[in-house]
């Protein structure tokens, strides 16, 4: 009779260790296996979160370690929530979030639908379309400042070509009315391909047999689109919106490179504002309260959204 691996391992285990393990339940052994991961998670995720919550009730400054740390209660939260400038950055973020999602979904879905049509070279077109999202956001932000340059920028010259306006008569990143749109345009240019890819996956997952059945029932293309394509792609679309929503809520690098938050504070999104508070002004306690508020907001909104997404998926 040959030994199994289990027998060989059992024999090789020292008697003292074997006795100890024999006394452990399966549950205890399972805990031993997951404990390192849990400890790591606690150390790098949960502890910093709890520490941030604690700091949010103090006047702590990381650049003044010798200064006395005072417990200030809810003062940081009160200051943030009653500060009109914070609300202005929230407004700028909401504008950015809404319009980027709107355009990316619209254009992304349209592109996916076009790419999904069988035509020669659609793989090549897919590759060309996804190129922008392969670039670094900082690089994109930087080169779009040149594209938006009123004197030599391609963007202004294209607008000028179609509208007849003098290209130097408007500045996309220097004008209060245009700057919020300038960041929307760049983000849309960069991330629409991502939405397109997810939609394409959704479109390709729809079995042809459904369309064939609809054809047999003499359903028009328009009707097929609204009753088959849209409902079946919707969960994918919602997933894309979730990913892009979370990403754009914490948008930083692209906008900093493009506008630096200006003109004034027109494009100062919450993440830029938070970074200034935390790592330029070094108001660590205040910035912690700010981060907690943002965390609760994103977590709350994302939870509601995920519930809605599950409901759509289970339909």
């Amino acid at each position: 009779m040959t030994d199994s691996t289990l027998d060989r391992v059992a024999r090789a285990t020292p008697p003292r260790v074997a006795r100890r393990i024999r006394g452990l339940s399966d549950r205890a052994i399972a805990w031993i296996f997951v404990a390192p991961t849990i400890i790591l998670l606690l150390a790098v995720n949960i502890f910093p979160l709890i520490w941030t919550i604690y700091l949010s009730f103090t006047n702590y400054r990381a650049n003044r370690p010798n200064a006395e740390v005072e417990w200030v209660g809810l003062r940081n939260y009160q200051r943030i929530l009653s500060d009109p400038e914070i609300w202005q950055t929230m407004q700028a973020t909401a504008h950015f979030l809404f319009w980027t999602l709107f355009f990316q979904v619209l254009i992304g879905f349209a592109l996916a639908w076009l790419i999904n049509q069988k035509f020669r070279g659609n793989n090549l077109w897919t590759t060309i379309i996804v190129l922008p999202m392969m670039l670094s956001p900082a690089v994109v932000g930087n080169f779009w400042t040149f594209l938006y340059q009123p004197q030599i920028g391609i963007f202004n010259n294209i607008i000028s070509f179609f509208s007849g306006a003098d290209p130097t008569s408007f500045s996309m990143i220097g004008d209060v009315r245009l700057a919020p749109w300038s960041i929307v345009i760049v983000d849309t240019w960069m991330w629409t391909p991502f939405v397109m890819l997810i939609c394409l996956a959704g479109l390709r997952s729809i079995p042809d047999s459904i369309y064939e059945a609809a054809e047999c029932d003499r359903a028009s293309k328009w009707r097929q689109f609204w009753t088959i394509t849209v409902p079946m792609v919707l969960p994918f679309l919602m997933l894309a919106v979730l990913f892009r929503g979370i990403e754009n809520f914490k948008m930083f690098d692209l906008v900093v490179q493009l506008t630096g938050g200006g003109p004034g504070s027109t494009t100062e999104l919450t993440s830029i504002n938070l970074k200034r508070e935390a790592f330029e002004k070094w108001r660590t306690g205040y910035a912690s309260a700010y981060a907690v508020i943002l965390f609760v907001t994103v977590f709350g909104l994302a939870s509601i959204y995920v519930k809605a997404l599950n409901r759509v998926k289970n339909r």
């Binding site: 130097t168 209060v176 200006g262 003109p263 200034r276 790592f279």
Partner: protein, 441 residues
């Protein structure tokens, strides 16, 4: 055996101590500064130190827009990357009070380095904290100040001279005050020169770091803006938002609106120099450090450019101080070698070579030497400008004070939000809150 071991240990000890006492150990010193032209000159200059001392030098240079962020993070985290720091003048309060720099008084006394040997404004601006005291935390390393560059070749054109004379009743020449500067900028705005459209002036308008503050203060100071009073340095009401200061802020916005190239809403040192070198503008606001580069430039260098100090306004004649002092970082493991570097750097012949390489020395022996004003076309303007300098706050909370001003001024000047009075009133509120939080008010 025991005797042999003792003998060996004693020999080793004597050997080590003799090495230490002669300073013959070789350290690898890291010097941190901004990434700009003078930094390259310093690399060249430091070769001499490496040869003399046996120490090797490494350099960590960070571009200006990220310089304060990166280096203050390094200091605040007690990093040991930098042994020597050429930090901005406004950091001195924070660096001294938080213990980032070592105090240099004893070292200066021991080595016979006198602060009287340096331009007074640089000692006060780069080395002393608290201001007005004789506690020194740095050696003035690079004197700098905001001044103006202009297209001398355009100014010299007969047709433009005639047109300007007819328009303003005076020669097209270096402006005597800020109002004249604006008139000149207006004169050039949108003008065709050699088949190209050119513009009046390139100004500091940058939002992200310190740009617009370093620009607007050159106008504000000269219109009556003050940081507190002699009796109360934290008297903000009526000084920061005085009627003169309001007028000054309105002037800067008017200058931005009338006379800058399109798309210049976020410009600082590099963008303004690019605009000037490419022949887009007649006038350029910038720090003096660019002048050697302008003088050597193939397009605008030599006789084609001239230099002048920031013009006076109705209530004073000042210019924004730039420049830095060199300090020893208190977290450095190579403090002795770093001090050796400072001792070497303070020598008059090294300072003279520093000036020749394009570094703006603050040593009186160099700047007051015979022939200094003729040594470079901008030398006299540099000296005159250093006589009228005024610096931004150097308080430990300087970063907060700066960001508040960036925000308020950019909103008014570039975004056109509200009035100048509202912007400065809001700035007073911001600064009051910062000083109250810091226990200064």
């Amino acid at each position: 055996m025991k005797t042999k071991a003792r003998l060996f240990a004693a020999t080793a000890l004597v050997g080590l101590s003799s090495l230490a006492s002669t300073g013959a150990y070789a350290a690898n010193l890291t010097l941190c500064w901004a990434a700009w032209d003078p930094a390259n000159a310093l690399i060249e200059l430091s070769r001499d130190f490496e040869e003399q001392s046996g120490h090797s030098m490494s350099f960590e240079f960070v571009p200006w827009p990220n310089f304060a962020d990166r280096m203050l993070n390094e200091l605040n985290s007690r990093g040991q990357l930098c042994d020597l720091m050429i930090g901005d003048s406004q950091w001195i309060g924070l660096a001294a009070e938080s213990g980032h720099y070592i105090q240099l008084n004893d070292f200066f006394d021991a080595e016979g380095i006198s602060m009287d040997a340096f331009i007074p404004a640089t000692v006060e601006g780069y080395a002393a904290w608290p201001k007005g005291s004789t506690n020194y935390w740095a050696l003035p390393a690079f004197a700098d100040v905001v001044g103006w560059t202009y297209r001398r070749d355009w100014f010299a054109r007969e047709d433009l001279q005639a047109e300007f004379r007819e328009l303003h009743g005076r020669d097209l020449d270096v402006p005597a005050d800020l109002q004249e500067l604006k008139e000149i900028a207006e004169f050039f705005q949108g003008r065709e020169i050699d088949g190209r459209t050119v513009y009046g002036a390139a100004l500091f308008t940058e939002r992200g770091s310190e740009g617009i503050t370093m620009g607007v203060t050159n106008v504000l100071y000269n219109f009556g803006f003050r940081y507190g009073t002699a009796d109360n340095p934290y008297q903000l009401e009526g000084t920061v938002n005085s009627p003169g200061a309001v007028e000054g802020l309105e002037f800067y916005r008017a200058l931005y609106e009338c006379c800058t190239p399109p798309g210049s809403s976020d410009w600082y040192m590099s963008e303004t120099i690019d605009a000037y070198r490419s022949g887009q503008v007649a006038l350029q606001m910038n720090f003096a450090f660019i002048w050697p580069g302008v003088d050597q430039d193939a397009n605008v260098g030599g006789d084609r450019s001239g230099y002048f100090t920031n013009p006076p306004g109705p209530d004073g004649h000042f210019a924004q101080l730039g420049g830095q002092g060199i300090s020893v970082v208190s977290y450095s493991q190579n403090q002795d070698a770093a001090l050796e570097y400072i001792k070497w750097f303070a020598q008059p012949e090294i300072q003279q070579r520093w000036w020749e390489l394009g570094g703006f020395s603050a040593l009186n022996d160099v700047v007051q030497a015979d022939g200094f004003v003729d040594s470079q076309p901008f030398a006299q303007t540099f000296l005159d400008s250093m006589e009228i300098v005024q610096d931004f706050w150097a308080e430990p909370t300087y970063a907060e004070l700066l960001l508040a001003m960036q925000n308020r001024v950019h909103r008014y000047v570039i975004a056109g939000e509200g009035t100048a009075q509202e912007a400065l009133d809001a700035l007073v509120r911001d600064w009051t809150e910062i000083f109250e939080d810091d226990g200064k008010m």
